[in-house]
Structure formats: structure tokens, C-alpha cells
């Protein structure tokens, strides 16, 4: 099982390396959206620091949504998906590996670039750390839940808008706990509970999402 996991993970990373522009799309989107906010709401540092957490979280959420719909697309196009469905290995493990690769390519870069954006929003180093920590724990959940939407809408017309409608309600708890972490910090409350709740969401998503996504893939390809 582990060998399948590693094989799929390596394959997806390799494929992405050969088509680097795809990876950069989500990152560029994230950067662009977060840079637009100061232009929209004004450059006052206090105000920016206040909205920074929410803006970065919503941007991360939209960036995930934008790219996750293509999670299974190329596999379906070249027939790999059919092979995966026929494989004796558990499909959920394959899906989990794909989501891991996806997160490494789109989620992790967001977390790594977040300090730079925090700087633009004039956050203090402590606040930056909290935003990054919440993104680090929260974005894998976004990827996992996004995989359910991606497999349900695979090959459907209007897939992009549909996946937003399906997945965004599921993202709400993550958004609340994630963006809430920095708010609590700024209000002088402890943030450990937020991060713990984010981690709990991640564990639930880890348990449910690969299985649900695998089931959805079987439904889609039935």
C-alpha cells in the first residue's frame, strides 16, 4: 500500500515538474488576489492588519478551488484513471497520494509565500507565524475536500462553477477556524484551540475525503 502511495505521489510530482506553469497558476492567483485587497480597501496599515487573516484565508480557499477541479482531469483524458479504477490497490490510497502531491504543489507554496504577503499587510512576526501555522494545518483539509468536489464534477459541463457551489459550504469550518486564529491572537486570546480544531478538521477530512472521493470516481466512471 505504501509503495503504491509513493509511486503515485512520485508520478504526480514528476508530471507537475514537467508542466511547471500549472503549479504556478494557483500561486500567482493567490498573490494577485491578496495584492488587490489593499488597492480596494485602502493602504492604512491598521486596517490591513485587521483584515489580513481573512483575506489570506479566502484567497487560499479560492486558489485551491481554482486548481483542484483539474485534479483528475488529465488522468481521465489519458486513460490513467481507468487503470486506477481497475487496480487491485485500494483506490482511496491512490486518491490520497494524488491529493498529497496536489497539496505539495499548490498548498505548500501558499504557506511558504504567506510571510511575504503578511509583510505587505503589515503583520507583526508573531501574527505572521500564526497565519502560516493555520495555513499549514488548514490547506491540506482544503485540498482533501476539494478532491471530493473534483471527482464528483469530473467531466461535467460547467464544472468550475459547480465545484464552487459544492465545496465552498464544506470549507466554512476551516475558514472560520483558520482565519479565527489570528483574530483571537489580536484579541489577546490563546490560539492553541483554533489550531487544534483545524487539526481535528484535517483528521476528519483525512478519514472521510479519500474514501468519498474514490466512491465519487467510481460513480463518475461507472
Amino acid at each position: 500500500m505504501l509503495s503504491v502511495f509513493m509511486a503515485v505521489l512520485r508520478r504526480d510530482l514528476l508530471l507537475a515538474w514537467r508542466r511547471r506553469s500549472d503549479v504556478l497558476t494557483a500561486l500567482g492567483f493567490f498573490l494577485l488576489v491578496t495584492s488587490l485587497f489593499p488597492l480596494g480597501v485602502g493602504p492604512e496599515p491598521d486596517q490591513l492588519a485587521q483584515i489580513a487573516g481573512g483575506v489570506m484565508w479566502v484567497a487560499a480557499l479560492l486558489a485551491t478551488l481554482l486548481s483542484v477541479s483539474r485534479l483528475f482531469e488529465s488522468d481521465e483524458a489519458d486513460g490513467t484513471l481507468e487503470q486506477m479504477l481497475l487496480s487491485v490497490e485500494p483506490l482511496a490510497v491512490i486518491v490520497l497520494a494524488k491529493v498529497c502531491a496536489y497539496w505539495l504543489l499548490t498548498g505548500l507554496p501558499l504557506v511558504l509565500i504567506a510571510p511575504l504577503i503578511a509583510l505587505q499587510f503589515s503583520l507583526t512576526p508573531d501574527e505572521t507565524l500564526i497565519v502560516c501555522a493555520s495555513l499549514l494545518i488548514g490547506t491540506p483539509t482544503l485540498s482533501l475536500l476539494g478532491a471530493i468536489g473534483a471527482s464528483l464534477t469530473l467531466g461535467l459541463r460547467g464544472g468550475g462553477a459547480l465545484i464552487a457551489l459544492l465545496v465552498l459550504p464544506l470549507y466554512i469550518p476551516v475558514l472560520i477556524f483558520g482565519a479565527g486564529a489570528i483574530d483571537r491572537w489580536r484579541a489577546g486570546l490563546e490560539v492553541g484551540s483554533n489550531l487544534a480544531l483545524l487539526a481535528a478538521c484535517l483528521l476528519v477530512a483525512l478519514a472521510v475525503a479519500p474514501v468519498a472521493s474514490a466512491a465519487a470516481l467510481r460513480i463518475a466512471q461507472d
Binding site: L152, G159, I172, G180, A215
Partner: protein
């Protein structure tokens, strides 16, 4: 395929069997028989509820007569949640037992549930204006209701986007169940978020101070909403049965015999 399923279901073995009604062919006439009792109950209960609500229940000491909105607001909010749970239940039954009828029931319930969610939001806003001074607050309950409405929309949009009914059923079922698992998490996260951002925390619970006639009116209206929901879902499920099974013999016979108008 439908032949083997229906013949298996057609044999009403000793006593009453729920599975006897698990095929569209046997359920269709049953649904037709249940329809009129539902409509009559809905109409009578609505009249009784409105009478109690407007003429028996006294004016509220603090809210004045604006509180009379709760006679639709609360039942609608309850129904929107009950219908979602019922929908998820039928989806789960469908996925486990692979019965067409369960999926049809889930599909038939969704629009009515969405309507209740919409009504709950609309009346909530109109009740909020005189009570809180604003049409919308990011109160935990209102926010959750809004998200519930989105969940209904997602379910219906997904089903509408898929042409193959079998895939539509199953894909819809999956997202309905995932949504049902998420609803409590969403509710508690929103509630928690709400306590962090103080200000919107206006208590909606008027229950302890409520006169018994108010409560009675609300419960009667809730029963009316139940009856209406069941009636609407039964009509819709009958329409879905005809649409989906229109090439089968039983539907053709039924329609050309002009049996049981709906």
C-alpha cells in the same frame, strides 16, 4: 432489469412488508392514495394554525405583533433541517440497498427543502428588522440556515448537471451525505465564530416567556408544514417516476388508462 426487480417486489409475502413498496411500480399508487389526506391535513392545519396565530395568541409584550412571523419562520426553519436529514437518509438507504426509489425520494425532497430554507431566511430577515433593527445579522442560526440553503442548491445543481440519472443519483447522494456530516460541524463552527465576534449575539429563544397559545400555534403550523412537505414530495416523486420510467410498460399503461389524477 426493472422486470426482475419489480417481480421480486411484487410478491407480497405474509403480512405487511416495507420492501413491497420499495419499487416505483408498487409505490406509485400508494403515493397517489396518500396525496389527498396530506393536502387536506395541510389545508386544515394551516387554517387552524393561522387562526390560533392571529386571533387567539395575544400580542407579545416586548415584540408587539411582529412576533407573529414566527408562526411561519420557525416551522420553515425546522422543516428545512428535517428535510435535509430525510434527504440524506434516503441517499444513504439508496447507496446501501441500491434501490431506485430511495434516490427518487431524495431528489423529490430537495426542492421543497430548499424552499423552506429560503422561507426561513426571508421571514427571519423580516422578523429581524423590527426586533434587532437590521434585516441581517451574522447570527449562528441565520448563517447556518444560509449555508443549508447553499447545500440544497449544490445538491440540485449537481444533479441537474449530470444527464445519466443513475450517476446523478449517486453523485448527489454522496454530496448530500458529506453535507449532512458537515452540517453539525458548520453549525458549531459558526456558533463559535459568533461568540468571538460579539455584538450579533441576540438571543432568538423566546421559548420560556412564550405563552402556550403561541407555542400551540407554532406547533400546529409545523404540523401543517410537515403535511405540505410530504404532499409536495409525493407529487414530485410521482412525476420523477413517470419521467424516468417512461419507457416501461407499467408507466405506459398507467398513463394511457388515465389512472389517479394528481
Amino acid at each position: 432489469m426493472s422486470e426482475t426487480q419489480s417481480s421480486a417486489a411484487r410478491a407480497p409475502s405474509s403480512g405487511f412488508s416495507l420492501f413491497y413498496y420499495a419499487s416505483p411500480q408498487t409505490f406509485f399508487p400508494l403515493a397517489g392514495k396518500l396525496l389527498w389526506p396530506c393536502w387536506i391535513a395541510a389545508a386544515l392545519l394551516t387554517l387552524a394554525g393561522l387562526y390560533i396565530g392571529f386571533f387567539v395568541a395575544p400580542t407579545d409584550a416586548t415584540q408587539g405583533d411582529s412576533y407573529r412571523i414566527i408562526f411561519i419562520h420557525v416551522p420553515a426553519a425546522w422543516m428545512s433541517m428535517v428535510v435535509y436529514l430525510a434527504m440524506a437518509f434516503w441517499c444513504a438507504v439508496g447507496l446501501v440497498f441500491n434501490t431506485r426509489l430511495s434516490f427518487m425520494m431524495a431528489t423529490a425532497l430537495a426542492p421543497t427543502g430548499a424552499i423552506w430554507a429560503f422561507v426561513a431566511l426571508w421571514t427571519g430577515a423580516l422578523w429581524g428588522k423590527p426586533t434587532w433593527g437590521t434585516y441581517w445579522v451574522w447570527d449562528a442560526r441565520l448563517t447556518s440556515e444560509l449555508i443549508l440553503f447553499f447545500l440544497y442548491c449544490g445538491y440540485m445543481a449537481l444533479q441537474a448537471a449530470i444527464d445519466d440519472p443513475r450517476r446523478a443519483d449517486r453523485a448527489g447522494a454522496l454530496i448530500a451525505i458529506v453535507g449532512a456530516v458537515n452540517v453539525p460541524i458548520i453549525y458549531f463552527s459558526v456558533k463559535w465564530w459568533n461568540t468571538l465576534h460579539q455584538g450579533a449575539s441576540v438571543s432568538l429563544t423566546a421559548a420560556p416567556t412564550m405563552a402556550t397559545t403561541m407555542l400551540t400555534g407554532m406547533l400546529v403550523m409545523a404540523l401543517a408544514a410537515w403535511a405540505y412537505t410530504i404532499g409536495a414530495a409525493l407529487v414530485r416523486v410521482r412525476a420523477i417516476m413517470i419521467e424516468r420510467e417512461r419507457s416501461t410498460d407499467w408507466v405506459r399503461k398507467l398513463v394511457s388508462n388515465g389512472d389517479s389524477k394528481a
